[in-house]
């Protein structure tokens, strides 16, 4: 057994680290570090930098513009991005739709859409969830009715992340009502600027506006925007979810958050001792470090299996549950470490009025925002159902 990265992998890490740290603009990484909202331009700027290096669509095959990395290299890259406080890339076009088009799309669709995802001309969002269809995605009701060469779409999507920046949305729509709910679903691409599409922001618990409701009223979409076959969208949806879960453990983010905690704990004092010396905080940090180290190895074990084609689907569910638990607990610890200062809405104070380091001032809102990790991408309860189904199969 050998848990070390190979010499080539270590050289790879060194290289991507240098490039990322050299090119990521400071004002953008500061915003990420401080938990402040990124503008559309911030995200586009970072994605353009990655695209110049050919590092944007890390899961795409080389012939479509991917970097041709192994799963381990991809893992290293993701980790380095998190450690450098780089913005998360917008996954909808790059991680979700891209691989779907590569597998299920027509040549025309691939030629048209893929380059536009890479160069940033198109910003995609994901239209899966509906008010009545969350965990039970197959219960979706948004209808697409064929009328000659077009579909006419009516219904509503919700929780659409960063839809406010998007010009395209990929949707699961109902094209048939007979048979099992899963059998009447199709995967269509909708221009957000079509007549009849309306996007309304949803304000979240932390005051942020990152998700939206999308209303469709008699929206006409050419049938050429169908991906794969009509009524076969469920297969695509499931394929896409496996891609959604590739970086699911968030080991890089947790590593960064633990590092942030240790830095903060060494700086701030409470009741006569550094928080770092407070046995209760130190103990919790030590426990989480142990959890994270185990998660790091679990993640690598899964990656090794994936490289050899032996990955079991339900183990990625375990990765999602534990990975998000660790991330959320680290947010919890970080927020707690601030004591009474965490209660102040940092947006009301100037930097020199803060009683705490500026990168910690938004700890409480960021903690609340991170509660989403266990809800989206298939909630942690749904992940448990997946594992249980596998374990207790007759």
């Amino acid at each position: 057994m050998d848990l070390d990265f190979t010499a080539e992998e270590q050289a790879f890490r060194k290289h991507v680290r240098e490039v990322i740290r050299g090119e990521l603009p400071r004002e953008i990484s500061d915003k990420v570090l401080q938990g402040r909202g990124l503008t559309k331009e911030d995200i586009e700027c970072w994605q353009a930098i990655l695209n110049r290096h050919g590092w944007l669509a890390t899961t795409w095959p080389a012939e479509f513009g991917g970097p041709g990395w192994s799963v381990v290299e991809r893992h290293i890259f993701n980790e380095e991005c998190a450690l450098a406080s780089a913005p998360r890339i917008v996954t909808f076009g790059l991680v979700m739709l891209g691989p779907v088009l590569i597998k299920f799309g027509t040549k025309e669709q691939q030629d048209h859409y893929l380059p536009r995802i890479l160069d940033g001309r198109d910003w995609w969002c994901q239209g899966y969830s509906e008010p009545g269809a969350g965990s039970d995605l197959a219960g979706l009701k948004t209808r697409a009715v064929r009328d000659g060469d077009t579909y006419v779409i009516n219904g509503q999507k919700t929780w659409t992340t960063l839809g406010q920046h998007a010009n395209w949305i990929f949707c699961l729509v109902r094209t048939a009502t007979e048979g099992k709910p899963q059998d009447g679903i199709s995967f269509v691409l909708v221009d957000v600027n079509s007549p009849g599409v309306e996007m309304r922001p949803i304000k979240l618990i932390d005051g942020s506006k990152e998700v939206n409701e999308v209303f469709f009223t008699d929206v006409r979409v050419p049938v050429t925007n169908l991906v794969g076959e009509e009524n076969k969208g469920w297969t695509i949806a499931k394929y896409l979810l496996t891609h959604e879960r590739t970086n699911i453990a968030g080991v890089g983010h947790s590593t960064k958050d633990l590092e942030k905690f240790r830095k903060l704990a060494a700086e701030i004092e409470r009741d006569g001792e550094k928080v770092a010396d407070n046995p209760l905080y130190a103990m919790r940090a030590a426990e989480l470090e142990a959890d994270l180290e185990a998660m790091r190895v679990t993640n690598l074990r899964l990656l090794a299996d994936a490289s050899s084609g032996a990955a079991e689907g339900h183990r990625s569910s375990l990765l999602k549950i534990k990975g998000t638990q660790i991330r959320q607990e680290l947010q919890n610890l970080y927020r707690s470490a601030l004591g009474s200062a965490a209660a102040l809405d940092a947006d009301d104070l100037s930097e020199n009025e803060l009683a705490v380091p500026v990168e910690a001032a938004r700890a409480a809102p960021v903690y609340f925002n991170h509660r989403k990790l266990s809800i989206y991408g298939g909630s942690n309860e749904i992940q448990r159902n997946i594992v249980a189904k596998e374990l207790f199969r007759e």
Partner: protein
């Protein structure tokens, strides 16, 4: 043994529940408390009329309550209503002024015409008052203060600010009006302030007020714990309702046993929380006060955020939205643990009290005091 509360307190409780117990009030709350003046217009005066501030003082002090039970009743209802009115600051200041015999100021406070806030915490001070870094020095006939105070609950808009600072005699207590506060919203709504003092002139109320400040803070902790109990009750009930209504996979979410069990744990923790608050309330003013208050604040600091997290999770995406009232309850239940010492501060307090050299380790549960018998 009798766990019923007195008739008068029951009346106060019922009155407050009627006053606060409607949804439009919560809407008004969420529209008002995240920006200045951090209060719902008109509510403060109505609370005074209902006798809330009178309940913070004994008859001798000019009120009709003044016990820990009165405080528990008021704050539980405030918690159920998710009130962000600056009740905590008012309570702390009224108790301190009452101890100092400042009837002149109290009358106005009972009437709600004067609002108070206490500045005791500092960037590096949570619960151990002996670590106070702010200093007071005589200057001419008066005093000047130096240092930084943090997390002043209800600071914005307060007429009277009490400030702790070190004197030669111990922990001095000072009075400021028109203090140059740095004001902000709390993450869960309501006003909070910081104060940077550079030779700030202040009136000295006491050159050593450490014991009364400790006593007031312990009462404030009981108040916060009771507020948490009220808010937990509401949020748990909202979660039960939601699970019954929300259907996925062709059935109500409430029919999934995995979710039922999670709610059962929330209810169980709510019961534990209520019990430890009763314990602390009954011990207030007895030798067990510090121990039981620390237990309460530690226990609530663990279970209240847990209930908040579970409620958000069990609601799914809806629980993450600003529009859903439950999310604001969840924020309150988490931020409560950041006030007047968190679960770890109070665990340390308990650990020290239980250490072999603290002499407390084998102390039997004390006999009931006259005060707890009336509870």
């Amino acid at each position: 043994m009798d766990f019923r509360i007195s008739e008068e307190r029951q009346m106060l409780s019922d009155m407050l529940r009627r006053f606060w117990g409607n949804d439009p009030m919560l809407e008004a709350r969420n529209a008002a408390v995240y920006e200045a003046p951090y209060q719902v217009p008109g509510v403060w005066a109505q609370l005074a009329e209902l006798g809330v501030f009178g309940a913070f003082l004994s008859e001798d002090e000019g009120g009709f309550g003044g016990t820990a039970e009165d405080v528990v009743v008021v704050f539980e209802e405030a918690g159920r209503a998710l009130s962000a009115e600056p009740l905590l600051g008012q309570l702390l200041v009224m108790r301190l002024l009452a101890g100092l015999g400042r009837a002149d100021l109290l009358e106005e406070m009972v009437a709600g015409a004067t609002r108070g806030a206490l500045a005791f915490a500092e960037p590096a001070l949570s619960v151990d008052l002996s670590r106070t870094a702010a200093t007071a020095a005589r200057r001419g006939d008066g005093w000047v203060l130096n240092g930084r105070k943090s997390a002043i609950y209800g600071g914005p808009g307060a007429d009277v600010l009490l400030v702790t600072a070190r004197t030669d005699a111990g922990l001095g207590l000072f009075l400021l009006r028109d203090a140059p506060l740095i004001e902000a919203a709390m993450v869960d709504g309501g006003g909070i302030a910081e104060l940077v003092m550079e030779d700030l002139a202040a009136e000295c109320l006491a050159e050593d007020a450490a014991p009364p400040v400790e006593a007031a803070l312990d009462l404030g902790r009981i108040a916060l714990c009771s507020e948490a109990v009220g808010a937990m009750d509401m949020l748990t009930a909202m979660t039960v309702d939601y699970l019954k209504q929300r259907r996925q996979f062709g059935r109500p979410l409430a029919s999934f046993q995995a979710l039922q069990h999670r709610v059962v744990d929330m209810v169980m923790e709510g019961e534990q929380a209520r019990s430890i608050v009763i314990r602390a309330m009954a011990s207030y003013g007895t030798p067990d006060q510090a121990r039981h208050v620390a237990m309460a604040k530690n226990l609530l600091g663990r279970v209240a955020p847990h209930v908040a997290e579970e409620a958000i999770q069990l609601h799914g995406g809806i629980g993450m939205t600003w529009e859903y009232p439950g999310s604001h309850y969840a924020k309150r239940l988490v931020l409560l643990d950041h006030q007047l010492g968190d679960r770890r501060d109070h665990a340390l307090r308990l650990m020290r009290m239980c250490a072999p050299d603290a002499g407390a380790v084998s102390r039997p549960v004390t006999a009931r005091t006259p005060e707890s018998q009336t509870a």
